[in-house]
Each structure stands twice: as C-alpha cells, then as structure tokens.
Symmetry: C2
Amino acid sequence: MVKSLAVERAGSSAIRDLLEITERPGVVSLAGGLPNPATFPVEALARASAAALAEDPLVALQYGPTEGYRPLRRWVADRVGPGAGGPTTEEQVLVTSGSQQALELLTRALVDPGGLVALADPAYVGALQAFRAAGAELAAIPADADGMRVDVLADRLAAGERPALVYVVANFDNPSGSTLSRERRHALAQLADRYGFWIVDDDPYGELRWNGTAPVALRTLTDRTITLGSTSKVLAPGLRVGWAVAPLEVRRSMAILKQSADLHTSALTQQVVHRTLAEPGFLDQHLATLRTTYRAQADHLVGALHQVLGDRLAVARPDGGMFLWAALLDPTADTAALLAPAVEQGVAFVPGAAFGVEQLHPTRLRLSFATADPAGLDLAVARLAGVIPVP
Amino acid sequence: MVKSLAVERAGSSAIRDLLEITERPGVVSLAGGLPNPATFPVEALARASAAALAEDPLVALQYGPTEGYRPLRRWVADRVGPGAGGPTTEEQVLVTSGSQQALELLTRALVDPGGLVALADPAYVGALQAFRAAGAELAAIPADADGMRVDVLADRLAAGERPALVYVVANFDNPSGSTLSRERRHALAQLADRYGFWIVDDDPYGELRWNGTAPVALRTLTDRTITLGSTSKVLAPGLRVGWAVAPLEVRRSMAILKQSADLHTSALTQQVVHRTLAEPGFLDQHLATLRTTYRAQADHLVGALHQVLGDRLAVARPDGGMFLWAALLDPTADTAALLAPAVEQGVAFVPGAAFGVEQLHPTRLRLSFATADPAGLDLAVARLAGVIPVP
C-alpha cells in the first residue's frame, strides 16, 4: 500500500501535472508565484552568510531550538507589532520552513480529520493541499473585490456551521489579488470572538504595497488570529524561512508537531535571514526597490493586456502583491482548456479551476506580473493573443 | 480547541520537559546526539556557501523542485550505490529537511491512522514521535546486542500481525548502539518480501564506523527498503539536509506530502551541501577526521567509565556511531529518577525510559560520547560518580 489516506487527500487533483507543463523551456511563465530573480539581494545574503559562518558558526551549524533562532523570533515580534492582547513577544513566534510549513502545522494542530475550514473560493492551492492532506472538510465562502464575503460566512455560522479555522490572505489575496476591506476585517474578528474559531491571516504579500495603505491588521482586532509571514517574496524563496505569530497555546502545539516534522528550520538560513533583515537600512531600501519593480511590472502587464486584449479580457490595476485575476469576456470560455494551447504558443498561466474550492472559475486565469521583466511580459501578452477567444 | 489528535499523540510524553533541563548552563551533557562542534567543516561550508551565491545564485535563491536539487540527488544515488533492483537512480532520491522529515513523510505516506509499525524496543525518540503523531500503533520487538530480534518479529508475523513498515537503525542504533547482524538482515529482507511490509533503514551513523566492516546493506537484499540518510552527523546538523532513497512509487507519494509540508528544502543549503560533498577529496578526509575524533572520545569515555564506575555500570566498547547504552548493575536502579540529581551535579544523560516503546529500561542510560572532548568526558564521569548507586 503506497497511497495512504493522506496521500490520496493531498494528491487528489490533476493540477500538479498541469503545472509541470508550464515549466517547459522557451515558455514565458506568468503561472508561478516566483519573484523576479533580478530582485534577489544576492550581495546582502552573501555578506550575511559569510558573517554567520565566520562569527557564529556553532549556532549556524549545530542543532538549534525547534521554536527558531531567538534573534529572528525577536525581530519578527518587533516587526509585526502589538496584537489585540498587547505587545507581541518572541515566545509567540515559531520560525518555520517557509510559511507553507506554518500552514500545515497549524492545520494539524487545530483541525482534526473531518473538522471544518472556511475559506474564500477561489483559494491558494498550497492551502487547499495542506487542508485536504489533514483531512479537513472545506467550507467555500464566495468572495468579491473586497475579499471574502464575511456576511455569507456570518449567515452560515448563524445556520450552525462551525469551522475550526477561517483562512484568509487579507492583503493581496492569492489568486484574486483582492484585499479584505476594513469593514469585513472588523466583522470577521467579531465573528471569531463570538464563535470561537481561529483566523489564519496568511500574509506573504503585505509588504509589497505601492499604493494606498493597508486596512487594520486582523491580529490587532482579535487575539484569535494566527498571522503567517515569509521571506519568500521579500528576500528569496530558496531560503525557505517563514514564521507564524500565534497565541502561546497554539504556538506550543505547532512546535510539538514541528519537532517531529523536521526538528527545526535550518539554523544557517535563519541566521542569514536575521543578519540580512537586521542590517541597518537594508530592509527599507530593499522594499522600496521591490515595490518600484513590481509596480512597474504590474502597470506594464495591465497596460499591455488592455492594449492587446482589452476586447477579450477584463483586469484591474493592482495596488500591490504579485497577481492579476483576469476574467475572459467570452462567458463560454474555459481557461483550463486553453492552457495546453497557450503552452504550445510559449506562454503559461494558471487556470481558475486550479484555485477552485467548489467553483471552477472557468473564465478566470491567474497572471503573475512578478517573475518576468517588461520585455517578457510583452512577449507573453502577444502569445496569449493567439489563444484567448474573442467574445 | 488547541490540542488536536495529532498534538495529543505527538506530545503524549514528559520527555520533552525532562530533556530541557539537560540544557542548563554549566551542565556537561552526554544527553543529546550533538556532534562535537570542533568537527564542523566550517571553512569548507563557507567556501561552498560563497561559491553557491557567487556562481549559481538564482538556483540557490529561487523556488526549486520539491524532489530536491538534482546534482545532490545524483550524488546521493551514486553514494548509496545499487540496490536489490539494480542501479539507484536520482529519481529514487527525495531530499528532505533532515532525515527526521523523511521519517515523518514516509510514515504519513505508508501508514494510515491505526496502522502498525514494528520497531525495536528501545527506539529513537524522534521516530516514536513521528509514528505516534501519524496515529500509528506500535509493535515493540525485543532487541539484543545484534539488534532487533528478527526471530521474534517472524513469530509475530506468523501469528498474524501485519505491520505496514518495520523501522530499524541497522548501523549503530540509537539508543542501543547495536548493529543488526548479517543473518538478521537477510532474515528481515526475506520477511519483507514474504509479508509485503516496507523496511525503513534509518542510517545517520553508518559512515561513522572505525572498526570492522558493515554487514550487507538491507537495500541490496530487498527492494522493499527505504534508506534514510543525513548530513547531520557527517557535516553539520544545523544545515537540516537529509534524504530518503526509496522505490519510485514511495518516493512519489512522499513528494506529494512534502509539497504541502514545506514545498522544498532550502535550495541554498542543498547547494552548500552538494558543493561541499562533491569537493574532490573532501569527504574521505573529513570522514577520517570524524572517525579518529569519535573513536578517541568513545575510547576515552568507556575507559573513564570502567575506571571510575566499573563496579556500578556495564558498558561495551563501540565500533562506531555516537552512543553508549550503559546498564547500571544495581537491578533496582531507576535512571529516570537519577536524572534530576545528576543535573544538580552538572551532568546529563538520557534515561532508558525515554526510548521505551513498551519497556521502561529503568537500569539503562544513553551516553553520547560525540559532543564533549576528553576533558569534558572526564568531568562528566566524575559527576556521574556522585549519583550512580553502588549495587
């Protein structure tokens, strides 16, 4: 027996195979959520790595605590700032092997098989996988340009549904790009306090805002929030360093599971990350560069789509993040069926169906503006024009 | 609800609290399986890290494949050599965040909750945690100086027990230090073929042999073997790079679970490990240094124990590995009760009960000779003399 229940649940979709074809050579990919590699702070990371191995090699190379490298935990606690219950302490921080691991650990810590997780439909594929692998049942809540329809969630709670946790990407959602509105954040926090569920606020994109200001953070509204962060979009994903900031009891349960999952996250990469983030002036300057770069790429892609495909596709100009959630104007279009011909033309995207919880989102496609430079984006749009139907 | 079933199962022992006290300042610890930090190849790792970020930063810093960095997978396949079914291919290798992660992924891939895992009693604490967190039932098989009593396993199989997997540390077991004999390896492989269970051969210590030659590897006897390897004892544990070498169908199932567990292991540390291991001449020379160091430390500790505590404690001279599995000669001794007074005296060990599956091993203690240098080992033995009872 090679396919356990866990494997069946986690691997129950054909998405993986679908996405593998987007990595063919010669394909301009708008599919993955890959940062533009030109933004990687290679020199800062090389300095940090050299310093870690020269100045503190025994901490970088020996076994370390499951909860994480203490200076990094302290940095995270300071950065996320106070929550609803007062100051955030480093004890509330668990460093994880990317925020994907935090997602999996907290699901296993908070949801027994058969338990309910509520989330917007469409939703991040990695979250769907983690929830399904844990045997969770999914409650799909509709969403619009202001994020999850919290009023619909409220109705379903009133009708008796009892999720153990509610998952949101409140800032620049993946895939929809939407930001949960201020009003909905307040409403969601009140529901959490009233019904006793946990809010998971998965926040890899919050720092990538170049327009407007973020609505109030969920964690300042209720102490039933677990906030996930990551260095993948801010430094580099290959480091695999993320974190959860959670109430102590939740953080402790997650650490128990992390101990048997991988003992601890690489002490070397944790120290490299901490030294880089703590270098005076580095982060502000680097975030400014990222925002400028991604804003330019987003504007470029939206402009090209409007110009070349404006009669076939609707797309909004984002204030941050990495993704456009484009809608084909032909109501009979099926983006899942368009992917193979698109890859033939040398361009890739992720069809809406990949993110479907209950809905298939057949006219939707997720386009990442983060990976390719303007020339690549132009090429991608020209190639898309060969496959996107005229309504 | 913060304690899910998974947390309850994984955290069901008091061992964690017990072991935390062994980390008090001023305590000479023979408790953890920590390598002597003087053996860390800091300069080679610093060279590899600098080269990775200078020569191949986009691979070190971008998202990578879940299965692992291909050159490292190839190196592992070459290193472990051919298995029962012929040459080992890189496709059979999954790079993991330490071999602890491999253990957890394969358990979840192969054992449904309620499924049976057979293992020697005593057993490695991290394995017990991973099995219990997955909801496995444990079949404790007695063991002696030649490892698991495979004849007892055979009887239990004949009586109808059907483990999904059988876990062994065939080379220099943790905690017992025993090596599974040649005859038992053949017998175990035959049982696997006959009854269709998987053998997990967890092998972090096999390279640390300074005396004699290893018996035939299990994976050359049956293709129902999954071999786990690690850089933790050979390079440095803080890197968190390990691997599983498994039949393709098992490797694929593990990769599906790894994708939702952490996407992939740090691309930077994988490249650092590969560049270090592949540096011409490095590994042979480094292994020679490790063997010389650990042999000297083992001989020193055994000598000191014989000299100071020979009338109170029995211990065998090891041919490799990291651990002594000492037996107190007072049959009424309880090593779990001796730990707190020992820590008061400034010395720590792991009591036998920590490794118990069904048995409590009350007269046993695991002593690591790997961490401390000879002066530290002398100090530890002198302090142990203050608490070990005279029979």
